[in-house]
């Protein structure tokens, strides 16, 4: 498929081409979504090595399952669902080497001369460590909503739950993060970026 035409082709059409035997169509799908899927996996496991492996696994599973993809469904929802399942399966059998919360807590405090960028980086580590401590459904919901900006109904389809449950999970996730982060949370509306 020529590159110029490919940009205009919908994901679902590429799926059709792929099922019909056009392997290059799947390459295009991978190229389009690899960053989102990698980031999703990284949010779950918190390290590059596992995230890249999980993202790869998600695409391999998606490729195998393409013949079962329903043309009425949205490809990104379907792909995210596969990736979330891959991540949750991994977490259920192996706890990846996430940035440990305890280590962050015992890290030496920055002196007052530390610049804003370093502080922000440190906060990001705290947040990732706290997210890693959330129950799996809350973590998945938070990641999909906050980082991937997916609407609640789409998250509900990915998680196989009701829309209300997805919204409640999001609230619970934030409430638990507030407890985990304690005083570390700051109002970013007031801090310089």
């Amino acid at each position: 498929m020529p590159q110029t035409d490919a940009q205009a082709v919908a994901d679902e059409e590429l799926v059709g081409a792929c099922v019909a035997g056009d392997r290059s169509a799947f390459d295009l799908l991978v190229g389009r979504h690899q960053r989102q899927i990698y980031k999703l996996c990284f949010r779950f496991v918190g390290n590059h090595e596992d995230a890249s492996e999980l993202a790869q696994d998600a695409f391999v599973r998606a490729y195998r399952a393409l013949p079962k993809f329903e043309r009425t469904a949205k490809f990104t929802t379907w792909l995210h669902r596969i990736a979330v399942n891959v991540c949750l399966n991994r977490l259920s059998v192996k706890r990846p080497p996430h940035e440990p919360f305890a280590d962050v807590e015992s890290a030496p405090s920055r002196d007052e001369r530390a610049d804003v960028a370093v502080l922000r980086q440190e906060r990001a580590v705290w947040v990732r460590a706290a997210v890693a401590r959330l129950p799996q459904k809350q973590r998945a919901t938070l990641i999909l909503r906050a980082y991937h900006d997916l609407p609640h109904d789409e998250i509900a389809r990915i998680m196989g739950s009701s829309v209300s449950a997805a919204k409640a999970n999001f609230c619970h996730a934030l409430g638990n993060l507030k407890k985990l982060l304690g005083e570390r949370v700051v109002d970013h509306h007031e801090s310089p970026e």
Partner: protein, 214 residues
């Protein structure tokens, strides 16, 4: 007073709270404080970016996915591999079995011939392969078959063992292994043996299984 539900808190964070919820939020300090707290946490979450891997990583990612797809064995191939392995296992198991059946059959034939015609003494070279699998002190004359000849096959240990071995051996496995006896050959061989001969066959098989660690 009913405070906001979790669903309504999420809606409040996203500025989609219904009019009744909004009215409550204006009047309830506790709910307003909780929304502020959740909003602050959400802001912290949003300010925790993922480090972008190097461009080189993305250049190779698609190739890695393709390689993983190509290297993954389709179910049929995996099944074939298992069948092939089973074929070799079957071959390993059946070779001593066939050899022993042959040896025992020859042994029985020869012992019968000995009783009938008392042939001339055999040479050492001819005797060695026939006696190789037999224990010392088990002379053909010691095998008395008269009292067990009519035993039903299923009650016989030898027959049961032969059957279990034959059941475990799949036809395709034997063919894969290049060992394909004539249809019914094993059954014929076993049923033509007397009960004591079959008992001896069992003992030989068990010795062989112990020796090979199967």
């Amino acid at each position: 007073m009913n405070h906001l539900s979790d669903v309504q808190f999420t809606a409040a964070l996203e500025d989609e709270l219904d009019p009744a919820g909004s009215a409550h939020l204006d009047a309830c300090g506790a709910c307003a404080a909780k929304v502020r707290g959740l909003r602050t946490v959400l802001a912290s979450v949003l300010h925790a970016p993922v480090a972008e891997p190097s461009p080189l990583f993305w250049e190779h990612f698609g190739a890695r996915v393709n390689k993983a797809i190509d290297s993954a064995q389709p179910p049929a191939a995996a099944s074939w591999g298992w069948t092939a392995n089973r074929g070799w296992l079957a071959a390993a198991a059946i070779v001593p079995l066939v050899m022993m059946i042959g040896a025992l059959a020859l042994y029985v034939i020869r012992s019968g011939a000995d009783e009938r015609s008392r042939p001339a003494p055999r040479t050492a070279a001819a005797e060695k392969p026939l006696d190789a699998g037999l224990p010392a002190g088990r002379a053909p004359a010691a095998v008395d078959t008269s009292d067990l000849a009519g035993d039903p096959p299923d009650d016989d240990r030898a027959w049961a063992l032969m059957r279990s071995l034959a059941i475990d051996l799949h036809y395709d496995d034997a063919r894969e292994a290049g060992i394909l006896p004539r249809p019914g050959a094993i059954e014929t061989a076993a049923t033509e043996l007397s009960a004591l001969e079959r008992a001896e066959l069992v003992r030989l098989l068990q010795d062989e299984l112990k020796r090979t660690g199967a």
